[in-house]
């Protein structure tokens, strides 16, 4: 009898403790009192929109950093956050590139062309999404373009045109659109394309999307924008502009890589790659940045009509648009620094938080470790940047969202929980 009681006792003890998990409560989410997150809007470009792998598509939209921020803000009472999602049937949106294979370590990409969201092929127009939204990010949007008329028309930017109801007057610009949403809180990250468009085109100005915005104009427009956004005392976060030379788009294809490839296929030793610059052709140095698309353009070494191989002789140099040369890089970096000074001083004058995206991406360039995961700016294997070498992977978006969250917590006395990076993926491999 006694023994049976013991058995029962032991069995009960085992049962009762199976449910007994240790608990942790190290973080108390709190909105603080300095900012009102009930209606958060995100103003920005492709990064805000969730653009990745050279396109805007549903999976990218779902991990766009403003949406990730909003989901964390909701844990401290933040309001609903709507994004202009493509439908499941048109989930591939604008189309994007995916990795088809790695051949001898060289990536081979292909264009995803099914489930697209185009309603017109010429001009390219996307299926409209005109319900109220909070993620106002428009791929390609620039500071100067935000104030220009006509950008929301069929002849303008298809991503902006998509968001405007039929019958919107052509004078409706992005500034007016984005500042008339009755917001209580905002993130603002425009300005990248005011240098990036120019830089990615090898510092060749071929029109409004590849021009370099002047610092004076940037200052004026940013002041206008932020003054309007904070007219009712609203708070927000201004993002700095990343040093464009820190992204794989400019750091993957180097002189060394090109020479190694040329020499692997050549019997005579090649020692120089020749590039066209605004002051004439010259041999490339390690301080010249070749753009990522040059690696798949299939031009290097191809002889011209005079049998001179492309890029290997001063008489047939690599075209200017494929190279951000030393001088151009210095110009671009200086402009980025000027813009960032403006951004920080405007934020300080209005009492707004600054998400120092530039400082953060500079650290990623050298490689960081977080949550047991290594992330770097190395193309594909670094897992931070998507296949286009400029836009972020889901991991990159989560890291970016944490930079904003940290800024919000610091400036507005909030305790918004950060994202766990392990919940997100890097580059998909075949």
């Amino acid at each position: 009898m006694k023994r049976r009681n013991l058995y029962i006792g032991v069995a009960l003890a085992i049962l009762s403790i199976t449910a007994c998990k240790p608990t942790l409560d190290e973080f108390t989410p709190s909105a603080g009192t300095k900012a009102d997150f009930s209606k958060y809007i995100a103003i920005g470009n492709s990064l805000s929109a969730g653009f990745a792998d050279g396109g805007l598509y549903l999976e990218g939209q779902k991990v766009a950093f403003p949406l990730l921020i909003a989901e964390q803000l909701q844990k401290v009472g933040g309001g609903e956050f709507k994004s202009p999602f493509f439908s499941e049937e048109q989930s591939n949106g604008s189309g994007y590139i995916r990795l088809k294979a790695l051949v001898n370590g060289q990536p081979v990409t292909e264009q995803v062309a099914d489930k697209l969201a185009y309603r017109s092929a010429t001009p390219k127009l996307l299926t409209k999404y005109t319900d109220p939204i909070n993620n106002l990010g428009v791929p390609g949007m620039r500071m100067d373009m935000a104030f220009a008329p006509g950008i929301g028309t069929a002849a303008g930017n298809m991503y902006f045109e998509r968001l405007l109801p039929d019958g919107t007057p052509p004078t409706m610009n992005y500034f007016t659109y984005s500042t008339s949403q009755n917001h209580t809180f905002f993130t603002f990250s425009l300005g990248n394309n005011d240098v990036l468009g120019y830089a990615t085109n090898g510092a060749v100005n071929e029109g409004p999307t590849t021009s370099l915005t002047s610092t004076a104009l940037f200052n004026t427009l940013l002041n206008n924008y932020v003054t309007t956004l904070t007219a009712k005392g609203q708070k927000g976060v201004l993002a700095t502009i990343p040093d464009v030379t820190s992204v794989p788009y400019f750091t993957t294809v180097t002189r060394q890589v090109l020479l190694a490839a040329v020499n692997a296929a050549s019997t005579t030793k090649v020692t120089d790659i020749y590039i066209a610059t605004k002051t004439g052709p010259r041999a490339a140095t390690d301080q010249d940045f070749f753009v990522l698309p040059f690696s798949s353009a299939g031009l290097l070494g191809v002889p011209n009509a005079n049998k001179i191989p492309y890029g290997l002789h001063p008489l047939n140099p690599v075209e200017d648009k494929y190279v951000l040369d030393t001088k151009e890089a210095i110009e671009v970096v200086a402009r980025v620094n000027d813009f960032n000074k403006t951004i920080k001083s405007v934020a300080a004058s209005k009492g707004l938080a600054v998400a120092d995206v530039n400082a953060f991406l500079t650290s990623v360039k050298n490689g960081i470790r977080i949550d047991g995961l290594a992330v770097s700016a190395k193309y594909i294997t670094g897992n931070g940047f998507s296949l286009d070498g400029i836009h972020l992977t889901p991991i990159g978006n989560a890291l970016m969202a944490n930079v904003f969250i940290e800024a919000i917590n610091k400036t507005y006395g909030a305790q918004v929980p950060r994202l766990n990076i392990s919940d997100f993926r890097g580059v998909k491999l075949p």
Binding site: L6, A264, R369, I370, D371, I380, L429
Partner: protein
């Protein structure tokens, strides 16, 4: 095309941080001792002295065989710094066991015996979705020690003993690799291997008088070498150059030496007390290295930098009747794991321990012993210097145990 341009992209993915459990001494060799909080090396003179106090074995008047089993539940929680998400380990029960048997003439100057026991081990399963999955998904580690032992009485009060230890260790470890399939899931490394090592266990036991005794023992380090373990990598095809699906690995796991002192004395006729202290020389565990057979697979080197650790334990036994013994005890265990080197496979910190137990003499030949130990690993915020997995860990360990002894 005349020249092929090449981007030399090597899949030098972030090394999976693959780590062994350590800091995981499970002193559950005898449920009698467990019931006194792990104390009693000087007090109990029975077949389990083979482990606790080899010198005491020859003082055993009879012979016995005992079989003991435990169900250890290791429940950890983790909260990343700045995050509101709390990760929990899955329910898993590990069964440390021990078998002790003695042979030899009764009431003479020597005794021999053999012990088979599991002094280190543990199982932890965080799952493939948690924050630290790139550090560890799951680990099951077991070290089975086989120890033939002899003990001699030098005088009536003073005896010595020693045994040779042969260890068969096995490990089954999984961790996520940051390469991603088309559905967005990460790759997985699964390592399975067994290895062997050798060591020894020696001790002395001294009875000051009938009731007061002291025990000292030294259990040597056991370096367990794993060779040709199976490393299975589940990764996308494009990553298989770096992580060949069927690889081999080798590793070396040092299990530390322990110096233990125990004393026992009576409090009253029916209440006996025991106090034990140990010093565990974990400072031999500097790093854990995995070498893979794949030429392109990055070998991993994880700094551990363990320090010396120790414990102090005390317990009392109450004898309400001829047939029943009741025990209670507790202790404090200082961790060998420094704050900067906490890994999720043993998210260790200083522990407090409470325990209780009983022995019921079912017949002159059969004893039934039960025990229950609870260990609380104190919460600690740690930022691992290697992996930068940063957050707060806490762990509760529950260990019910039962043992059956046959005396002859």
């Amino acid at each position: 095309m005349m020249y092929m341009k090449k981007l030399l992209i090597t899949l030098l993915c972030a090394s999976p941080s693959l780590l062994f459990a350590q800091g995981s001494q499970v002193n559950l060799q005898s449920p009698k001792s467990v019931g006194m909080g792990g104390a009693g090396s000087a007090y109990f003179i029975d077949e389990s002295s083979i482990f606790y106090s080899p010198g005491a074995l020859s003082k055993m008047s009879h012979n016995a065989i005992s079989v003991n089993g435990n169900g250890v539940m290791f429940k950890s929680a983790f909260q990343a710094t700045g995050s509101s998400v709390v990760d929990h380990t899955r329910n898993q029960i590990t069964p440390p066991f021990s078998v002790f048997a003695t042979v030899g003439p009764k009431n003479t100057w020597w005794k021999a015996g053999i012990g088979i026991y599991t002094p280190y081990g543990g199982a932890v399963d965080w799952g493939t979705e948690w924050t630290g999955k790139y550090s560890l998904v799951s680990l099951s580690l077991r070290a089975i020690y086989i120890q033939p032992t002899v003990s001699f009485k030098l005088t009536d009060n003073f005896s010595i003993g020693g045994g040779f230890v042969y260890n068969v260790g096995s490990v089954d470890l999984q961790s996520a690799i940051p390469v991603y399939f088309q559905d967005g899931t990460s790759g997985l490394a699964e390592l399975k291997g067994t290895g062997t090592g050798t060591g020894y266990n020696v001790g002395v036991h001294y009875n000051l008088n009938e009731e007061f005794a002291i025990s000292m023992s030294y259990r040597s380090k056991v370096i367990t070498k794993l060779k040709d373990g199976d490393a299975k990598f589940t990764v996308p095809e494009a990553a298989q150059g770096t992580f060949p699906p069927d690889s081999k690995f080798s590793a070396e796991l040092p299990l530390p030496s322990t110096f233990a002192v125990g004393v026992t004395f009576p409090i009253s006729e029916k209440v006996k007390m025991a106090v034990d202290g140990t010093v565990i020389n974990y400072d031999i565990y500097k790093e854990l290295n995995f070498d893979y057979s794949g030429a392109n697979t990055p070998d991993t080197h994880s700094p551990k930098n363990y320090t010396k650790a120790g414990s102090i334990k005390a317990g009392i036994e109450y004898l309400p009747s001829e047939k029943l013994q009741l025990r209670i005890g507790g202790g404090y265990i200082a961790t060998p794991v420094s704050k900067d080197y906490v890994y999720p496979e043993t998210p260790d910190n200083n522990r407090i321990l409470v325990a209780g137990g009983f022995t019921y003499k079912m017949s002159p030949k059969f004893d039934l012993t039960g025990s229950f130990a609870y260990q609380r690993v104190l919460p600690r915020e740690a930022n691992n210097v290697d992996s930068h997995l940063s957050g707060t860990y806490t762990t509760n360990i529950y260990a019910p145990g039962i043992g059956l002894t046959y005396k002859f």
